[in-house]
């Protein structure tokens, strides 16, 4: 694995999930077709500039999804992939499930942002099951999204609650996709991953050298 020491600290503190969502929103190219995964990544929508022209796809069958619905705007026939009632924006389109997933596999979706249990330095993703016997396996659209979007970003905390790194040389949890992630956004920093290994892009509240040491990354 190789890495470039871009030892620049972009923030003097670890980012909150909202701050991280803003960073990701900043990096999504204007006009992209984007799928935001269930959970933390849905926050990114709140930080996309109104004039970004980003069109949100939800895999249950819609393009140009709007914000979460509140009060009278709640319509049980209109939800996101997390089954939360949402709204439609002008120019929205509905389609059935086979069409929706063809948009991913067919290479039409520019970016998807997913949560993860673990990401490997080479871009392997584990985000669907811990594999423990008591954990009922549920994959949803995670495997389809992982291999479908042109760029797959992960949004997660860099460490577990007990302090174990989630960006790892090799995933211990069952895989969702092989070599599919290109970038990992975390509270401690942003990393590029892939066939050439991991590279630190920027860090928050900690130096690249400290992060490299904690993750076992060799700075070149």
């Amino acid at each position: 694995m190789t890495t470039t020491p871009s030892d620049q600290v972009r923030a003097d503190h670890q980012l909150s999930m909202d701050e991280l969502a803003a960073v990701i929103a900043r990096d999504i190219p204007a006009g992209s077709f984007v799928n935001l995964g269930i959970g933390q990544p849905t926050r990114i929508a709140d930080h996309l500039p109104a004039d970004s022209g980003v069109v949100l796809h939800t895999e249950n069958g819609m393009l140009n999804m709007g914000p979460k619905a509140e009060g009278d705007a709640v319509d049980p026939d209109l939800t996101n992939a997390g089954k939360v009632p949402v709204t439609e924006l002008p120019g929205a389109a509905y389609f059935h499930h086979a069409d929706s997933f063809a948009k991913m596999r067919g290479g039409h979706l520019d970016v998807c942002v997913l949560g993860a249990y673990q990401v490997a330095f080479d871009g392997d993703l584990a985000n669907w099951t811990t594999g423990k016997p008591e954990d009922i396996p549920a994959v949803g659209g995670a495997m389809d999204l992982a291999i479908g979007a042109k760029d797959v970003y992960v949004m997660m905390t860099l460490f577990t609650r007990s302090g174990e790194p989630k960006l790892v040389p090799r995933c211990g949890y069952p895989l969702t996709g092989v070599g599919c992630v290109s970038r990992v956004y975390t509270d401690h920093g942003v990393f590029d991953v892939g066939p050439d290994g991991v590279r630190i892009r920027e860090t928050y509240g900690v130096s690249a050298h400290e992060i490299a040491e904690r993750l076992g990354i060799q700075l070149s």
Binding site: G61, H97, L175
Partner: protein, 231 residues
């Protein structure tokens, strides 16, 4: 298939469903779930069913009620575990129900293949994961794919918005989800709708499911629920 029948009751609509049938059940969570057809199926009594649906029931209504009635032997779905999937969770942990987890896009495409007469297809989803186990892998133009087979139903139970009397269907918003695909993939497709209109009242350009795929239609009072604990 001959033209669709308009039935007076949900009980008539589900008549004849045999034990051990494979039933495709529409809906994503509770959007598009054919609640009334499922309630009728519970009254009808068919058992040892295999259910193909995106989820494995939410709350205590629809598919969850069918599971709670003990009529389901196996579920093929993409996402059984949810905040309100307590009925399935209990049956699964007690070893009373079989589960086959299928990636959501493969679930849809395998039914699409069944409805379109495709014998099997190569798909890149799940390569290198535990869900690739037992599947043929092939490299085509430098990319790895898995061989996936169609999923065909004996029956499909789906919810749509409006039907015309010939069986053409339109849906509402994301309640469309699996309906149009399932309608093509079952021997007998049974649809509950909020309204039946005369032929000519639906814009032909807007019809989503053409009548050729539809066998039985019943009009019911619209019932809607939202998933509890969704986030």
């Amino acid at each position: 298939m001959s033209r669709a029948e308009i039935l007076e009751s949900t009980d008539a609509a589900v008549a004849g469903i045999e034990d051990e049938s494979t039933i495709l059940v529409g809906g994503f969570g509770l959007a598009g779930m054919p609640f009334d057809l499922i309630d009728a199926l519970i009254r009808q009594g068919a058992k040892d069913l295999t259910i193909v649906s995106n989820n494995a029931g939410n709350g205590d209504v629809g598919l969850a009620a069918l599971l709670a009635a003990g009529r389901v032997r196996k579920v093929l779905c993409s996402f059984p575990r949810q905040a309100d999937s307590w009925v399935f969770d209990g049956l699964y942990r007690a070893g009373k129900i079989e589960l086959e987890v299928v990636p959501q896009g493969n679930l849809a495409e395998r039914m699409r293949a069944a409805g379109a007469g495709i014998g099997a297809f190569y798909c890149p989803t799940a390569v290198g994961t535990p869900l690739a186990e037992g599947k043929e892998e092939r490299e085509i133009d430098g990319r790895k794919y898995l061989l996936e087979y169609p999923i065909k139903g004996d029956y499909a139970l789906i919810g749509a918005h409006i039907a015309d009397a010939l069986g053409n269907l339109v849906y509402r918003k994301t309640a469309r989800n699996f309906g149009p695909v399932m309608a093509t993939a079952a021997t007998t497709t049974i649809v509950q709708v909020d309204e039946v209109v005369e032929p000519g009242k639906l814009d032909p350009e807007a019809v989503v499911t053409p009548s050729i795929y539809v066998d039985r239609i019943v009009q019911v009072e619209a019932r809607h629920y939202t998933v509890q604990g969704a986030r």
